[in-house]
Amino acid sequence: MAPFQMRNTVERLDRPSSYAMSKYKKRRRPNNDQPNTRAPSPDLEEKLSTATTLYIGNLSFYTTEEQIHHLFSKCGELKRLVMGLDRFTKTPCGFCFVEYYTHSDALDCLKYVGGTKLDERIIRCDLDEGFSEGRQYGRGKSGGQVRDEYREEFDPGRGGFGKNVREQEAYGAEYAQGQ
């Protein structure tokens, strides 16, 4: 019988979120139809245990690199800052990657900055396996982040209503003319 173990008496904030881990689980799920011939990618959990990069989300489109730099360097010197851009317009679309020199700085950031405000928005921080070219672009249909496609609430910091919602409104608008 394994002895009872407990790391801490309260939950830790410096762990990867369930979202980061779920991506990993999805990836690892074996595909029965096609035997996986690719070499198994290194364990994500292991990668995250030395990660120095963070994904930062829920930024306003108008937040500048300087603002981000100013806040995040409170947890250690930044090695790199990559703004998330709209795939088509190449303008900021509300997320970024922040890279520190050390893993412990990145953890400090999760503990002390994640969930606080930047530019008056609660920002979200998550451990990331590391930036690679291409990841700075939004993956939504219209170029931004996926979440901004379907958002039904109005968010002035992130381009108003979701793109999808706006399109639906515009659709058929011509019939309203001359009423």
């Binding site: 009872f4 407990m6 008496t9 369930s18 500048t64 400090d108 002390y112 606080t116 008056e120």
Partner: protein, 856 residues
């Protein structure tokens, strides 16, 4: 508790776990992506969502212990009794034993508030089943020994506190002999060196253990023993350590200033407070007495004390006494992983007209503060949980220690008049957090942790915490003139960051009168710096909109320009044409040879104008063009610098003036956004395009402005970040040198490089000190004759000189204590551990505060 919830409890009892799908939340068929975060912990698991009520005892014990004392609606002694009964009744189960020991020990070192409550569970359980207490002692004492040997003084203190709370269980007094031995070591250390801090830490551990010991055990001989001990600790505790003035938040700069707070050392306060308690028969009112032997569940035959005799059949329910295994205090105690400094008692609210926190004469001030600060510093990994604990501190102390939560400050006066308790739990908690923000030389965690903890506290209980913060801010602002300068900047940094989390709301109107003050007064400088920092986190227009009109001139519209003007666009600027040409060429990524031809023209013109060093205007053009191209964002400028770094790197060795011109160009270009400018200098330092010495001399020689620059946030930030980089590097070198995992030859190489690094650092400290002491003494060049502002202004500037001098002397002393020759010891080969305490050798060369601590 995410770490443990997914665990199956294999303890006995409780229905089978065949419930299967019925209890499985995931079988509901709703969208998986919308599940809450926590659910993921169960993903790999088996269905274990058993209805709460019939959880097995192990789980209930774990939960019960973790939540002990948190519910204000349940009487603590009843909670403790129930848990004790549950544990005692199920103690034959190995898993229950395991859980109880693990959770209890973890709680002791992670949630100090709960120590008396966990101890009470053990004390109650002992009456039911002596094995519980015997195991608790047997498993805890080895931990105490480990922490002692490792020099982990906080953990040692907490475990010792727990064992002191259990003292009624021991056959004979076991705690005071330990305290005695600790005292002997402290005396040895103090005798060996007057700058010793480890001895002071030991005294603190002793004095903080005594109240818990005597609250748990009112034995008359024990009291006598403690009184004896106290009479001996007095000499150490009441003498001021020579290092104290160095870490005083309100230093005695000027005899005529009244100190905002006395900030006595914690041990001197404790010593006095304990003597006071002793004189009054040890009331120790704030410590909760959770265990009360008279409250034990009365059995049918009643009359507890007679039970031993009455129950000959082994079914005794009377407390059993246990032997204490004893610990060995090593002859040479370990300093431990952290540099130690004397602890001064910082309070924003203490000893004021209305008693919203315990006065410094009351033992509660030190005991409560100690437990809160430990909680804060231990639980940095979950600020939300910490904020919640701080919000409910009234649960963890004796009833009626505090006034009801959220009581308005205005009501306290009446309550005070009625003779009822007036300590506001919010004030006590906020006071403790600020004591860490203003800890010298540095707090245990990054300052931003304490910022976010204040933010969370505000979020939990805005109505109660915000007014306390308001009073804190006013107090700090009032005394910002006499506060240590580094702490003044910490205050500014926190204040701006805090406001950025709360829509920049502050009653700025009340500081309007201060706006007429000279920019050289610390108060006005504080306002200016705060607004600057707010803008850095936000933007000029937003910040201006939050301010009364009187402040608007402080944020000129030029600050709204995100992209500064390119000065060579103005025909009146010398070399305007060439400047524009260089800009165009760099934009087009023209070959450097082409750029050179234009720069050659500039050189010829400059020489014709009789300019001594033509590289200066050349670098101005080149750097300003880079900045203009990169003005769009940080990444733009960094990539442009990277592209042009060869020329930038080459100029330094040719001309120091040109190298400093690079800094000037950055500062001028970003004059309206000094934060961006400072940040760029930081990057230029990384590229070694500018050197630390060039930055220091730029700031404190070339741009001293007869001392006025010392009042400027930008100057402080430039010097601060440069020195942080340098000292951090030297520390890193020392760490690598002592890194036993590296091959010895490599460590030897590092060791050889160390003196050079260290000398570089010392030169910088010397340059700073030289410049700022000059200002302090009024000896700055031209200062004497050219002070138009009159004597008042001269006096203000001198004061900044004094404040700067003090900060950098301290920083110098701290660094010497970490990386100085006397402290790092000889390079030792192999697995031999450095005997850090034993290294006395020669004291650091000529350093007054050399012996401050011994960190390898």
């Amino acid at each position: 508790m995410a770490d443990t919830d997914s665990r199956r409890d294999y303890g006995g009892g409780g229905g089978g776990r065949g419930g299967g799908y019925r209890n499985d939340r995931r079988s509901g068929g709703f969208n998986k992506r919308k599940r809450g975060r926590e659910d993921d912990d169960f993903d790999q698991g088996y269905p274990n969502h058993r209805p709460r009520g019939d959880a097995p005892p192990g789980t209930r014990i774990r939960k019960g212990l973790l939540e002990i004392a948190e519910d204000p609606l349940r009487l603590p002694h009843e909670v403790a009794q129930n848990l004790a009964k549950l544990t005692a009744d199920n103690y034959e189960d190995e898993y229950v034993k395991d859980i109880f020991a693990t959770v209890a020990l973890k709680l002791i070192v992670e949630q100090p508030f709960k120590i008396p409550f966990v101890a009470a569970v053990v004390l109650y359980a002992n009456a039911e089943n002596a094995e519980v207490a015997r195991d608790a002692i047997a498993k805890t004492v080895p931990r105490l020994q480990e922490y002692l040997e490792a020099g982990q003084w906080r953990e040692f203190k907490l475990v010792l506190r727990f064992l002191a709370c259990l003292s009624p269980l021991y056959e004979e007094d076991a705690i005071s002999p330990i305290l005695d031995q600790l005292f002997d070591r402290a005396v040895d250390l103090q005798t060996a060196s007057q700058d010793d801090t480890l001895g002071l830490e030991l005294i603190k551990v002793i004095l903080l253990t005594v109240p818990y010991l005597l609250a748990a055990n009112n034995d008359e001989t024990l009291r006598q023993t403690v009184s004896d001990l106290l009479s001996r600790t007095d000499i150490v505790a009441s003498t001021q350590s020579p290092i104290e003035p160095l870490v005083d938040p309100y230093p005695d700069n000027n005899a005529q200033d009244e100190k905002a707070m006395p900030c006595a050392s914690t041990i001197s306060m404790l010593q006095r407070q304990l003597q006071e308690e002793e004189a009054n028969g040890w009331p120790l009112k704030c410590i909760p007495r959770v265990y009360d032997p008279t409250l034990k569940p009365v059995k049918a035959n009643g009359d507890g004390d007679l039970e031993i005799e009455a129950n000959g059949n082994g079914e005794t329910k009377t407390p059993t006494k246990h032997t204490f295994p004893g610990i060995i205090v090593p002859a040479t105690v370990n300093t431990g992983p952290r540099a130690l400094f004397p602890d001064l008692y910082f309070s924003l609210y203490a000893d004021q007209e209305v008693e919203s926190v315990p006065p410094t004469t009351n033992i509660a001030s030190c005991i409560v503060r100690d437990a809160i600060v430990d909680t804060i510093n231990i639980l940095d990994f979950n600020r939300n949980a910490t904020a919640r604990f701080l919000n409910e501190i009234d649960c963890y102390w004796a009833p009626d220690t505090f006034v009801k939560r959220s009581t308005a400050f205005d009501k306290l006066r009446d309550i005070q008049a009625a003779g009822k308790p007036t300590w506001k739990p919010e004030d006590v908690a906020i006071d403790a957090i600020f004591s860490q923000v203003f800890q010298l030389p540095t707090p245990e965690h990054r300052l931003v942790y304490y910022h976010s903890l204040i933010t969370e506290s505000c979020k939990i209980s805005p109505g109660a915490v915000a007014p306390s913060l308001g009073r804190a801010i006013r107090f700090l602002f009032r005394s910002v003139d006499t506060m240590d300068m580094e702490l003044g900047y910490r205050f500014m940094d926190w204040f701006a960051h805090h406001l950025s989390n709360f829509e920049f709301r502050w009653k700025w109107a009340e500081w309007i009168p201060e706006l007429t003050l000279s920019d050289l007064t610390p108060k006005k400088a504080f306002i200016l710096g705060t607004l600057e920092k707010e803008i850095q986190l936000s933007f000029a227009k937003r910040v201006r909109d939050t301010l009364p009109e009187d402040y608007h001139p402080l944020i000129p519209t030029s600050k709204e320009n995100e992209v500064p003007k390119f000065k060579y666009d103005d025909e009146n600027t010398p070399y305007a044409k060439e400047g524009r040409e260089v800009l165009t060429m760099l934009k087009k990524k023209a070959p450097e040879a082409d750029v050179q031809t234009v720069l050659d023209i500039v050189r010829d013109q400059a020489l014709a104008h009789g300019i001594e060093d033509p590289l200066v205007p050349i670098m101005d053009i080149y750097m300003t063009s880079i900045l203009s191209i990169g003005s769009k964002s940080l990444s733009h400028v960094l990539s442009t610098i990277d592209r042009c770094k060869d020329r930038l790197l080459a100029v330094g060795p040719q001309s120091e003036a040109a190298r400093r011109q690079i800094i000037t160009s950055v500062m001028n270009f970003w004059a309206d956004h000094p934060g961006t400018a400072v940040n760029l200098v930081d990057k230029l330092l990384n590229y070694t395009i500018v050197t630390p010495m060039s930055v220091i001399q730029w700031a404190l020689q070339d741009h001293m402005d007869r001392g006025r620059a010392l009042a400027n946030l930008r100057t402080y930030e430039l010097v601060f970040l440069t020195m942080f980089k340098v000292t951090n590097r030297v520390r890193q070198v020392v760490r690598e040198r002592n890194n036993m995992t590296l091959p010895y030859s490599q460590r030897q190489q590092i060791d050889e490089a160390l003196p050079r690094e260290r000398e570089g650092m010392r030169d910088l400290f010397a340059a700073i000190e030289d410049a700022v002491t000059g200002v302090a003494a009024g000896a700055q060049d031209e200062m004497v004759e050219r002070f138009e502002g009159g004597e008042a202004e001269e006096e203000l500037v001198k004061r900044w000189g004094v404040r700067w001098t003090r900060v950098w002397k301290r920083k110098n002393a701290v660094e010497e204590a970490v990386v100085g020759e006397g402290f790092i010891g000889e390079l030792v080969e192999g697995e031999l551990e450095l005997d850090v305490v034993g290294q006395e050798e020669e004291a650091a060369v000529g350093e007054e505060y050399g012996d401050m601590d011994q960190v390898a």
